[in-house]
């Protein structure tokens, strides 16, 4: 049974002045997959997902999502199409409570017409917030100021905000950074649970997380895709080893 392609990029490139951050990337992710993107620092992983989510405009290339060309769509329209990005550097609203943080996401899903912008049933929002926070285990912190949370919990808050947007493609940029081991374990459980409904694109440096969660892995270096395959294929891939070992040796 052929998997339906959710996301497809062709010849995707991004040029910053002289720096070629992303070169000619062809990526195809079928619905329901958990895809990891790995690579040394500066490989272009964040730039790639920024292009997909709309934070950056491509210099060249096309992005297809659910069959639609979204390359020129602004970021906010891509969110309504189902592409949700959670930030690498934590960008929760530090001065607002966790409730307010997630409410913004929940609310987005509920705003339909003009009248909705003026009045929304706060009870429904509260339900949505509760659900989202429970999924990541942060219900107790609902009314805490987001900036007061420990770093790892702020990352989880980011994820819950992403989930509250009801994504079809959830892009997680280094989500386990700063998490303790048990938190990482629950995180992996969470991802496995949601991947039944949501396609996940994961940037990770933590190889054990990658090997545990990913169904396919795309390896990038210097802006290009140098390998792609199942975790076991990637583990044995010589070019990948060179890219990683090469950076280690030089460091």
């Amino acid at each position: 049974m052929a998997a339906v392609t959710l996301l497809e990029t062709s010849a995707l490139s991004k040029n910053f002045g002289g720096l070629q951050a992303v070169q000619n990337v062809e990526l195809r992710i079928p619905t329901g997959e958990i895809r990891a993107v790995i690579g040394p620092n500066g490989a272009g992983k964040t730039s790639l997902v920024s292009l997909i989510s709309g934070r950056l405009r491509p210099t060249e290339g096309i992005i297809h999502f659910k069959g639609e060309d979204v390359s020129r769509l602004p970021a906010w329209d891509r969110v309504s199409r189902g592409i949700v990005y959670t930030f690498q550097v934590t960008s929760v609203y530090a001065n607002l409570t966790c409730y307010e943080n997630v409410a913004l996401a929940v609310q987005r899903r509920m705003i339909g017409g003009l009248l909705d912008r003026l009045m929304l049933d706060e009870k429904r929002i509260a339900q949505g917030v509760d659900q989202a926070l429970s999924q990541v285990g942060l219900q107790e912190d609902t009314h805490r100021r987001a900036g007061d949370l420990p770093y790892g919990h702020q990352r989880l808050l980011e994820v819950s905000m992403g989930l509250a947007l009801e994504p079809e493609l959830l892009i997680l940029d280094e989500p386990t950074q700063g998490l303790a081991l048990d938190e990482i374990a629950s995180f992996c459980d969470l991802i496995r649970a949601i991947s039944k409904r949501v396609t996940v694109l994961l940037i990770e440096h933590n190889m054990s997380v990658v090997l545990e969660l990913a169904e396919r892995i795309t390896v990038m270096d210097k802006g290009m895709v140098i390998a792609e395959g199942t975790p076991s294929e990637i583990e044995q891939n010589e070019e990948v080893q060179r890219a990683y070992l090469g950076t280690d040796a030089a460091a």
Partner: protein, 320 residues
Amino acid sequence: MNRRISGKVLALHLGIIVLLLGAQFVLSSYHHTNVARIMVFATFALGYNILLGYTGLLSLGHAMFFAAGIYGAGLTVFYFQFGAIEAFAAGVLSSLVLGLVFGLIVIRTSGVSFLIVTLMFAQAGFLTILYFNEITLGDQGIVISQVLQPLTLWGTEYPFSDPAVKYNAALLLFAVTFIICIALVYSPVGRVLVAIRENEARTRMLGYNTYKYKLVSLVISATLSGAAGAMYALLFSYIGSTFASIQYSIFPLLWTLVGGMGTLIGPVLGTGLMFYLVDISSGLTESHLIVVGVVLVGLVLWFPKGLMGTIREKWLTWLP
């Protein structure tokens, strides 16, 4: 609009309106007109605060919206003998249109660029009023009290020279504006505006077209400021180019900061405080505006959150 407006908040804010309603019966005539003036200016400050305190955009050009209101109302009375209500509508409409046009032009700017554009446009507006002096008579100013007909509602005449009419008209404007602001702040739109203030990029990635929201905020802010201007023309009669000068762009900033930007009561309190501070010091010296300077510097160094902002942070965290 149902967003957790707790009883406490509602009581406090509506209480202020009630307080002002009752005050007119106990104030001496000097303070009576002052408070009327303060309420009109407080409306201006509230409008300004929507953009600064709740959306995070610092403007140095709001005088143009205030002036649009004043001139919209004043000139229609002066030249076309508009009645009070039509003149008020004309003033509000002028500032709304100006806000919309301006907003559409500048919506992609932010931060320092936005600040400078507001400054430049307002200055251009000020100069334009002077340039067309034959029409606007901006240099010498116009007084419309002779031309303005009393307001006639259901058979009773309400002349604008009557202090009670002035006070209650100002109070009505203030109350309506105050309620609009409360509703806005607690609405889904208000939530997004605060998010834009805190982190615009993040808000975009949550699926919000932040440019549209900023535009809406700007138009609302401009219209409220213009409404204050229009009412000022009707109540206090004097229409002059000073109201379009940079002074009247700095005042709402001052009032809002003193009282606490990003709070609702703040701008109101700030307007009242600064009004009286300037009033008192003008009796002491010709250079009384120095208090404005000292207050601004003092705020920045020691009181960045303003009066209500500090109160909210330290004690009453439930204040909007």
